[in-house]
Subunit: 420 residues, 2 copies
């Protein structure tokens, strides 16, 4: 019997009406003979509301209490979804992270999953029931309630799918899949039928919000096929999975999956740094120790024995990073620091890029022809990212989308075989 793990995000269970729609969808799938495990997020803005309550009673809430508070959101969703399932005649049972046996480390508010026992879920499935599981939460090795941090529910779903050896993990959200660019910026943007894990990783790393990076890493490591789709239209979405032979053959040609942008980052620079070994190490070790999430790093060629080191980081991390930069700058004799929040990171993602150096050149040419100045460049085997001025965002994304033939008709990937 096929087993599907599904994950329903906050918008998919935002109110009783949506909850009943989800229940009907699950019941129909169950009636076809598929085993279903449904992982749920908190309803709509429930988590935000709880965070706001915490802020109102405390200037610095403790992690343990924060986790206890926030995990209630998913519990409410899971018990309501079970009730809705019962109401459409579908037998179901809810499980907290602790009841599922999602064992994590002891890092409150950003715990890592160590192990999934899953015995009670297996028993429920064996008894013909749908198992509804609270996303985002686990229980630590010290028996405290923990949360998995950002993208936690996606991670719960993928990890459960791996532990239960599910046939696929469906991630239901409020968009119909992964697009070749943000449809709000590029009207011609197309839904992608299929992506490899690596491509999806690069897209998530480049700023695509559809899937949490962490859950894609988990899916790749455990080879769990992910199907991203909408709980509003229920239409076929985007598959993210290992590359099969047919895909590999087609990948000989450079193919661009999409243009991704990220407006959540800023650029900081340490100026006039003496060009000697160990400076970068000192800087980025210090930033890592303070949990600053550095993304792109660029060091210019040395001129007259000094150089500039630039990097991008989430805007929210600037406060933490600034004193560190000052301190390291003083220690190594830098001439100053600079910060710029008025940037955007643009990335082209696509398999096969590695063997086609012409892609990068074409990207830079397109941007230049449109008067867009490039401030930083970073590349991987299947991604090229540039940092440009924020005001250039729309023009740049549209120009790239058109130049790389993403506007045109057919998606590159072969029609999907029936996966049922």
């Amino acid at each position: 019997m096929a087993l599907i793990v599904q994950k329903y995000g906050g918008t998919s269970v935002a109110d009783p009406d949506r909850m009943r729609n989800v229940a009907k969808h699950i019941a129909a799938l169950r009636a076809q003979g598929t085993d279903v495990v449904a992982v749920v997020s908190a309803m709509g803005k429930a988590t935000d509301n709880l965070v706001e309550l915490a802020r109102q009673v405390s200037s610095n809430p403790q992690g343990r209490e924060m986790d206890m508070l926030l995990t209630t959101g998913e519990r409410i969703s899971m018990s309501l979804l079970c009730m809705a399932l019962h109401d459409v005649g579908c037998d179901a049972m809810s499980f907290t992270g602790s009841q599922v046996g999602i064992i994590t480390d002891t890092s409150h508010t950003k715990a890592k999953i160590l192990e999934i026992k899953g015995d009670r879920v297996r028993e429920a499935l064996a008894a013909g029931k749908v198992a509804v599981v609270a996303g985002f939460q686990g229980v630590s090795t010290e028996r405290e309630i923990t949360t998995l941090g950002r993208g936690g529910s996606d991670t719960t779903a993928v990890a459960l799918a791996a532990a239960l050896k599910a046939d696929a993990c469906e991630i239901y959200t409020d968009v119909t899949g992964v697009f070749s660019a943000d449809p709000r910026l590029v009207p011609q943007a197309r839904k992608l039928k299929e992506l490899s894990f690596d491509e999806m990783l690069e897209m998530a790393g480049a700023g695509s919000k559809v899937l949490a990076l962490r859950s894609v890493e988990f899916a790749r490591n455990h080879n769990v096929p992910i199907h991203v789709r909408s709980s509003f239209t229920w239409e076929e979405g985007t598959w993210v999975r290992g590359i099969d032979e047919e895909r590999k053959r087609k990948m000989e040609e450079p193919i661009i999956s999409g243009v991704v942008h990220d407006v959540g980052e800023a650029k900081m620079t340490l100026l006039g740094v003496p060009d000697r070994p160990g400076v970068s190490a000192l800087l980025f070790e210090s930033l890592a120790a303070a949990n600053v999430n550095v993304d792109m790093i660029v060091q210019n060629t040395s001129i007259d024995g000094t150089t500039d080191i630039s990097f991008t980081l989430p805007i929210g991390d600037i406060k933490t990073a600034e004193p560190i930069l000052k301190k390291v700058g003083d220690e190594v004799g830098a001439t100053g620091i600079n910060k710029d929040e008025n940037i955007v990171k643009l990335s082209l993602v696509g398999a096969g890029m590695k063997s086609s150096p012409g892609i990068a050149a074409k990207m830079f040419r397109v941007l230049a022809d449109n008067g867009v100045n490039i401030e930083m460049i970073s590349t991987s085997t299947i991604r090229i990212s540039v940092v440009v001025e924020r005001t250039q965002l729309e023009k740049a994304v549209r120009a790239l989308h058109t130049a790389f033939d993403l506007d045109s008709g057919e998606d590159y990937s072969a029609p999907l075989p029936d996966r049922k």
Copy 2:
């Protein structure tokens, strides 16, 4: 070191402001060197809102899922209160019913406490922390989350106080104590300084909503002194406890504590029942089997071999009771059934009533002089209850309050010794 178990009801933790007030109060008590365990209810209308959500997704929510859903309310309260305590520099740790080790039977939505382990609470207190505990919830012998039903948080607090051998259990609510009558009906009503467990039991049974009957029973059985008081004014409230020698001496005279009324009941009657053994047994066994909560029972003297059996029950139970009455009536050959929702139960409660038969006579006389017709009568050693027409409520309560000298100045009980 003194140990106080406190319970904060929904109005006491209704919003972040109130939560911070409660935190300051606890911190001040802790700073005086008293160990504190704080049991919390869900915030304001949180439980009602969850019940409404459940109703919107399901016509008949399963008990297990309902318990999972409702227990989130107290979890939110307890973690927020802990954060607020940390914020005023008071070390605190929250515990769910499960973490406290409140072991219950397996009756979802109305579980009974079997045992309280309390090890983690004791450890927290030993480490100098305030322990904040989610009220209303436990974990069953089958490791499922359960709720204790109506008055559950009061019961949690009293049971914890018994298990931890606390010096007292403070119940914080939105009224300043137990009154000689409902102050909304009787402006002269006075706050009582002290009541015995038995008097409080009779008052709760007669309709006083200040303390849940069940928690008073528990307190009496384990001799836990209860102090009912307000978290809005923090003034001295009403003590409920075992009777000391001084009280016993004073109790030689009949003393009325108060007039209690209950508008939540209806009267049902099985008419023209053949007067033979076993009829009452059959009726009340059938009602008990359907969990109908029968209160007063009156059977009139037999006339021409038939009799009427009347009883009162919560208005919400009429739907369940009606078909049972019809069925039993048919079996025993009754002539019909009758129901009346337009009633109110009035009770006089006071120790020493037993040895003073004049009290009942005086009560009936006062009602008769005021034109109030009595429909049913029931007495216990320290209570007399009558059922009268709902429209007579205010007139009857005021007349009784005045006639039994409850309007006048001083409370009957001696000034309280310092209990700190």
